[in-house]
């Protein structure tokens, strides 16, 4: 089935790992997003279709899927931009286990955030006065650069190194680590640098920038990871961390 002016031909992944694509006809609408298309199928054609979304406005990071071969946030991806010939193929994100249909198990993705020490380690308590942060220092600019990550997993799904090396922490977790490395209020840097300096850490990145190209928030994980490589190498040479 091929799409027409009024109709889209939409192939959706159905089932788990051994599932297959099934094709549906979905009416075209103006300003239609890929998430609208998936929602239409579930509301009107097959209520058993599983998928995730929450905010529909690019904030929550839960709606990412593989759209015509590329990972994208579906709520902010317009059909007109990606379905040139009126065809859409929508699958679950790559590099994550499929649960069912368009939903993946993101547990490992978030466990890697923990492994990369992507958790703020406070240097003060609530009894201290509020830290004064100058926005114009280079460190704060580096921390601010990736503060808008929405944990969508798009970069992780698009990273070949994750595909090849399942131990690799991946662009999102490492970018989070870099944000905290540059946060002057954080006190966990030695542990964090140690955590990203082992096998599967920042040095596994090939700098081929798919993450940066695909990130819907236009963040630059490649640059963040390059920062971690420099910082960990310096810490290693000073004897502050081990391999």
């Amino acid at each position: 089935m091929s799409g027409t002016q009024q109709e889209l031909s939409v192939s959706l992944w159905r089932g788990g790992k051994d599932g297959r694509y099934r094709t549906y006809a979905v009416p075209r609408r103006e300003s239609q997003t890929v998430l609208d298309v998936v929602t239409y199928v579930q509301r009107h054609l097959d209520p058993t279709l599983s998928y995730r979304f929450a905010c529909r406005v690019g904030v929550c990071g839960s709606c990412a899927m593989t759209v015509n071969g590329k990972p994208r946030w579906t709520c902010r991806t317009h059909v007109a931009k990606v379905a040139g010939a009126g065809r859409l193929e929508i699958g679950p994100l790559e590099n994550l286990p499929v649960i069912k249909d368009l939903t993946t198990d993101m547990a490992e993705f978030f466990q890697k955030w923990q492994r990369a020490k992507g958790v703020f380690a406070p240097s003060q308590t609530r009894h201290d006065s509020i830290a004064q942060i100058r926005p114009d220092t280079p460190a704060r600019a580096a921390a601010d650069a990736a503060i808008e990550c929405i944990n969508c997993g798009v970069c992780y799904a698009g990273c070949d190194t994750v595909r090849w090396n399942s131990a690799y922490l991946g662009p999102a977790a490492l970018t989070r680590a870099w944000t905290l490395v540059n946060d002057q209020r954080d006190a966990g840097n030695r542990e964090r640098l140690q955590a990203v300096a082992v096998d599967g850490g920042c040095h596994s990145c090939h700098s081929h920038q798919s993450c940066q190209e695909l990130c819907p928030q236009t963040l630059n994980p490649t640059a963040a990871i390059a920062g971690l490589k420099r910082r960990t190498a310096a810490a290693y040479l000073k004897g502050e961390i081990k391999a």
Partner: protein, 109 residues
Amino acid sequence: MNVRLYVWQRATAAIMAPLVLVHIAVIFYATRQGLTAADILSRTHGSAIWASYYGLFVAAASIHASIGMRNVLIEWSPLDERRAGLLAVALGLLLALLGFHAVIALVVT
């Protein structure tokens, strides 16, 4: 790849970069001047400079390639990190053996 291997790989790359340039310059010189194998060997025999130049080159290349091969094996083969590391060390040693053999041929025999 971990930070120790990363530092070694970058360091050996930094050592090799100028060595490669000199090596290429020497090849150009030798072909331009039409030097025969005997001409070349007469200049390199007993030369401590050429021995250390190519000795360093072989050492750096073996380490560099071995780290790279470990990475390739981890990503592209079913081997785990330990086995990939062992195989990569074996490859590195083989490269070093072949390389030093060639260096000895150049300056000693």
